[in-house]
Symmetry: C2
Subunit: 265 residues, 2 copies
Amino acid sequence: MAKQDKLYIIKIGGNVIDNSRNLHEFLKDFHDLEGFKILVHGGGKVATELGKDLGVEPKMIDGRRITDVETLRIVTMVYAGLINKNIVAQLQFRGCNAIGLTGADGNLIRAQKRPVKEIDYGFVGDLHETSVASHMLSKILEDGLIPVFSAITHDGEGQLLNTNADTIASAIAVAMSKHYETSLIYCFEKKGVLKDVDDDDSVVREIPSGDFEQLKSDGIVAGGMIPKLHNAFEAIKSGVSEVFIGKADELDQLSKQTFGTRLIN
Amino acid sequence: MAKQDKLYIIKIGGNVIDNSRNLHEFLKDFHDLEGFKILVHGGGKVATELGKDLGVEPKMIDGRRITDVETLRIVTMVYAGLINKNIVAQLQFRGCNAIGLTGADGNLIRAQKRPVKEIDYGFVGDLHETSVASHMLSKILEDGLIPVFSAITHDGEGQLLNTNADTIASAIAVAMSKHYETSLIYCFEKKGVLKDVDDDDSVVREIPSGDFEQLKSDGIVAGGMIPKLHNAFEAIKSGVSEVFIGKADELDQLSKQTFGTRLIN
């Protein structure tokens, strides 16, 4: 490992996982991406559907999803078992030596159960600066393996914890920036930050951190994009070289510098 | 890695996994065992129960369990997700740097879907001589990680396969005997091979391969023990140094040479 080596951390969510054609297309592009890489995946609808089949109602408090014992059981089965291992098997088929992981495996991501304040979120993990065991994760990469993380971590005391996949991707990117030149890539349903919300092709190609305030004032960055970009610039401040936000099915554009919106310092 | 380094491959089944007190006790003893080690676990009743809850009836043909698409889905969730990750989290709590794996991860165990003859077993994997990627598995051990395998493999073409845990343990032990001095340990419900089937303490301490035929003639080895010992001696012929058969809760006796029945060449 050398600081000049490039490492991509790519996060995909339900819109990729729930559609097998999207997923296969994405995994092909992921395979083609050169350099060190790590995949982080969320859960999608499968966990909700399994919950329904088992008669476990989603628990919500003030619109926030709660991970009770039954829900943790379900997400552990679906994220760490079903989805993770099928992605690994698919990547293996493509010649990508993937290894499916949770934060418990190799003690790679140790979280803290979210403290109970107004809401008890249940078995949800929050990450902190030393959560990611970057040295062990580097060893795994140097072994020639491609880590595929599901959004499950642990607290080091035997408890698994449901953890936001965006947060996991960001924490990995920041921690690994000590060892590699890291690029963090968030795949979501749009092609990037759009100048005109009604024009899918009006992607803003690059946003330097200094432009963030102006874009907010202009209303180009609004709603759910504000926290997304805020977190992205925080990651950049903490050592990540660049963050991309774009559409999973355009990942092949990354090498041509025409993938989504690039956020830089 | 050096050939003189000792490696233990320990297989546990439903009688350990289904009882949380047994499991915790076992994991404590597993943690205390010195040297390189690998755990292989079966499934237990959880998969059957989840199947019932989901209205998936176990498919049997001529008394043999069939792994159809739905059953594969369930065992992938339960073995590779729920059971595997909880064991890993428990081991991490004890300071054991466990990593949960299937055969798909790191392409560590590649199986072949069982050919359809009289019975179509469905998505069941058979292992062959080159199934285990012993070099990669050695790297993982040398990284300081303790592999914990669930009984799921893959065919290298994107298909996960349900695979017998005893067979996985044996294939790992044989393949790793190129790199380590391997001991294969099968935990089951009895203390070992018993001289007197009604006396739990009449354990035969050691069986050299040359005594196997005589013990069969004498009826001391009978019924289900015959294939078990047959397979154990096959593993020894293929390079494994010793095979133990004993009770999970007596694993702490291993270092004192008073664990179960030891099979040697």
